[in-house]
């Protein structure tokens, strides 16, 4: 390349929904909400901590002065790294525009890949789901893809975590009923990591908690934020707001409320212990005004999540996003549309830890076929974000000249060199000619995905935990069972 100056290139496509001024406006509005309206905090310990940090507490209503919010934003780390639970390798870097994908957790139902039946999820179905996630290269982290319902309900969270940790080595975002469940789960994690300090330095999990919109931090949620901070473990705090229902009917209003809920959660967390790792985020969508469903496939969800990502980038906070999910009761064309839009938007806007891949039926049911299909959609999105490289070699003017008008590039060495890296290839997306596809059985994508799921379930082997660790983890679960018997 000739010597040149003053050259700006897009090393990857540029994408944004909001300008930084608009992001700032949302921050300012959220700060106003927290100072003027405040939030309810139903945990006494959290309220005490907040009061000591300068918040105005009236009963369970807590108003947060803007300065307290700013201090929390300054102390919170701008990056969180999650590791592989077996090897400790630092695989998931939640920072900047890095977009990672994973599944969702608590669906009451799942589709059985062998019978096609919609049935209640169980320990086995969660284990199977984790195995599939572990096998799929474009899935980076795990959530359970089902509520374990064949065990005592009050301690099902311990069983649910156990089913996950046994069946995947990828990082886990874990739910729990309350801080007692979390305490047991943390114990299990410390066993797997090899110690308290080891877990803190190389976390392979994050805790998960949600406010109740609008603007409420229930006891379970607030106490989880406090516990996470005390333990110095990462926590995802996720407002799940439906526009027109539990939040205002405008996107800017949803973003403001989400940020107010996130920041008040951040304040609880940071005033308990400054510098504790925190991941903001949410599921920001609409209430469908006909069916009243909390919509997982709406274009508003895609737009609002991307806008929220801009806000998170502006604040330099890692963000938990939502993609690869559908309102459809089947992994059908609608599910395909909704996944394509949400995954593409997510890859472009770059929230960091993106969950709910594999959710159908507006989050009530998990589908392993859909999950497997979306592995390829994520691949497509990632290819898009790799962008177009413009340099002497890729411009290939010499090659064009050498080949000449009217000839072809098929046997060019550069073609051989580049065609594999320039294109995303998938084993599920069919690019055969009609006759070949027919000869192979005229299968639909769903059928191919189903075959792949079965293949994984029957043949894939997860990196196992040692038997000592397994037993120690089991002991924690059993003692929880004992306590409720």
């Amino acid at each position: 390349m000739p010597v040149t100056s003053n050259y700006t290139a897009n090393a990857s496509p540029l994408f944004s929904v909001l300008t930084s001024t608009q992001c700032d406006d949302i921050l300012l509005a959220a700060q106003e909400v927290l100072e003027r309206t405040g939030v309810t905090v139903m945990d006494e310990e959290a309220r005490d901590i907040m009061a000591k940090a300068g918040c105005w507490v009236d009963g369970i209503r807590v108003r947060i002065p803007s300065a307290v919010v700013r201090r929390a934003l300054q102390s919170v780390p701008n990056r969180v790294t999650l590791c592989n639970s077996r090897t400790g390798s630092r695989d998931v870097l939640l920072e900047g525009h890095n977009a990672y994908f994973g599944t969702g957790s608590d669906t009451p139902f799942t589709i059985d890949p062998y019978t096609g039946q919609r049935k209640r999820s169980t320990t086995e179905s969660v284990g199977n789901a984790c195995k599939v996630i572990d096998a799929l290269p474009n899935l980076d982290f795990v959530m359970s893809l089902g509520i374990v319902q064949d065990v005592p309900a009050l301690v099902s969270d311990r069983h649910q975590f156990e089913a996950q940790i046994l069946n995947t080595s990828k990082p886990i975002v874990t739910t729990a009923h309350d801080i007692y469940g979390f305490a047991d789960i943390i114990k299990m994690c410390e066993i797997v990591a090899g110690g308290v300090e080891e877990l803190r330095r190389h976390p392979f999990m994050t805790l998960y908690a949600e406010p109740i919109s609008p603007l409420q931090h229930a006891w379970e949620a607030a106490s989880k934020l406090v516990l996470a901070a005390k333990k110095g473990l990462p926590v995802v705090y996720t407002p799940c707001i439906m526009s027109g229902g539990t939040g205002p009917a405008t996107p800017a209003g949803i973003l403001t409320q989400a940020l107010a809920e996130s920041l008040s959660g951040l304040v609880i967390n940071q005033t308990t212990r400054e510098g504790s790792p925190f991941i903001m985020g949410g599921v920001l969508t609409i209430m469908d005004m006909s069916s009243t469903v909390f919509s997982y496939g709406s274009p508003e969800l895609d737009l609002q999540m991307s806008a929220y990502a801009d806000v998170a980038h502006y604040l330099k906070l890692p963000m938990f996003g939502t993609a690869g999910c559908s309102d459809s009761c089947l992994a059908d064309e609608q599910a395909g549309i909704e996944a394509a839009l949400s995954i593409a938007m997510t890859c472009l806007s770059g929230p960091n830890l993106n969950h709910d891949v594999g959710y159908i039926e507006y989050g009530s049911t998990s589908s392993l076929e859909y999950l497997t299909i979306n592995n390829d959609v994520i691949g497509m999105g990632r290819r898009l974000v790799r962008g177009i490289a413009v340099n002497d070699e890729t411009l290939a003017l010499d090659v064009i000249d050498a080949v000449g008008p009217g000839k072809d590039f098929l046997s060019e060495p550069s073609t051989l060199k580049y065609f594999k890296t320039e294109t995303y290839s998938s084993d599920l997306l069919d690019r055969q000619r009609y006759e070949a596809w027919q000869a192979a059985g005229s299968k639909t994508l769903f059928e191919r995905a189903n075959a792949k799921v079965k293949d994984i379930l029957e043949n894939y082997e997860v990196d196992p935990l040692s038997s000592d660790v397994r037993s120690a983890v089991r002991a924690v679960v059993e003692s929880a069972d004992e306590a409720v018997r």
């Binding site: 608590d106 099902s156 005004m289 009243t292």
Partner: protein, 211 residues
């Protein structure tokens, strides 16, 4: 003389509270039968709204606006009607069960039931089984609806039904359940009388159970 309540019904359909109050007052001042004002005007308009909501022509916020308009008129007509003559589709007690603070679904059911002519006692959130029992024994409700959002709090539904049975009230009232993790199977398992997946379904279910 029979008064024409068409305009009143239209004002409810349009969700215009000011107009429905004014028209109701006008009708009452003109000596119209207050019960008729409800059945042939306010409730009739609301019935049209309900049908349009079901068919997808009208939406939740519009239904609530209409319900508000209906209430504006009802508040003027009610004082003039004896309790025994008050038209009502039935009485329903609603609450989110113990340990659960989620209530938007329940509140939507509450508002939709009222718009369908039911009298609703909304107990709120995190309601102990004993509180449900007390509410049932103190009212002459036809149905009690239990709502839960979490699989852990779903268990409280069974506890509530058991408490009603223990208090000898189980046969006096119909119990229905709803919420994201709830299903017909679960309702059958715990001995509930019905399950509805959404607010519209809840109205139909209550109508069927009261009949």
């Amino acid at each position: 003389m029979s008064y024409n309540f068409d305009e009143l019904a239209e004002s409810v359909i349009a969700g215009d509270s000011e107009l429905s109050a004014a028209l109701t007052q006008q009708a009452l001042d003109a000596g119209a039968n207050p019960v008729a004002a409800i059945t042939d005007g306010l409730s009739k308009g609301m019935g049209v709204v309900g049908a349009r909501f079901k068919s997808g022509e009208m939406f939740v916020p519009e239904v609530l606006m209409s319900a508000r308009a209906m209430t504006a008129g009802m508040d003027l007509a009610k004082p003039l009607i004896l309790a025994a003559d008050m038209p009502s589709s039935g009485k329903v007690i609603l609450g989110t069960v113990k340990g659960d603070l989620h209530d938007i679904g329940k509140n939507l059911v509450s508002m939709m039931l009222e718009s369908a002519g039911f009298t609703v006692i909304n107990l709120g959130i995190d309601i102990e089984p004993e509180t449900f029992v007390k509410a049932v024994s103190e009212s002459d409700a036809d149905v009690v609806g239990l709502s839960a959002m979490l699989t852990t709090t779903m268990l409280a539904m069974k506890a509530t039904i058991d408490s009603l049975a223990a208090a000898g009230l189980r046969n006096k009232i119909k119990v229905i359940v709803g919420g994201a993790p709830v299903s017909q199977d679960f309702a059958d398992e715990i001995g509930a009388d019905g399950f509805a997946p959404d607010a519209g379904g809840a109205i139909d279910l209550c109508k069927a159970l009261v009949a």
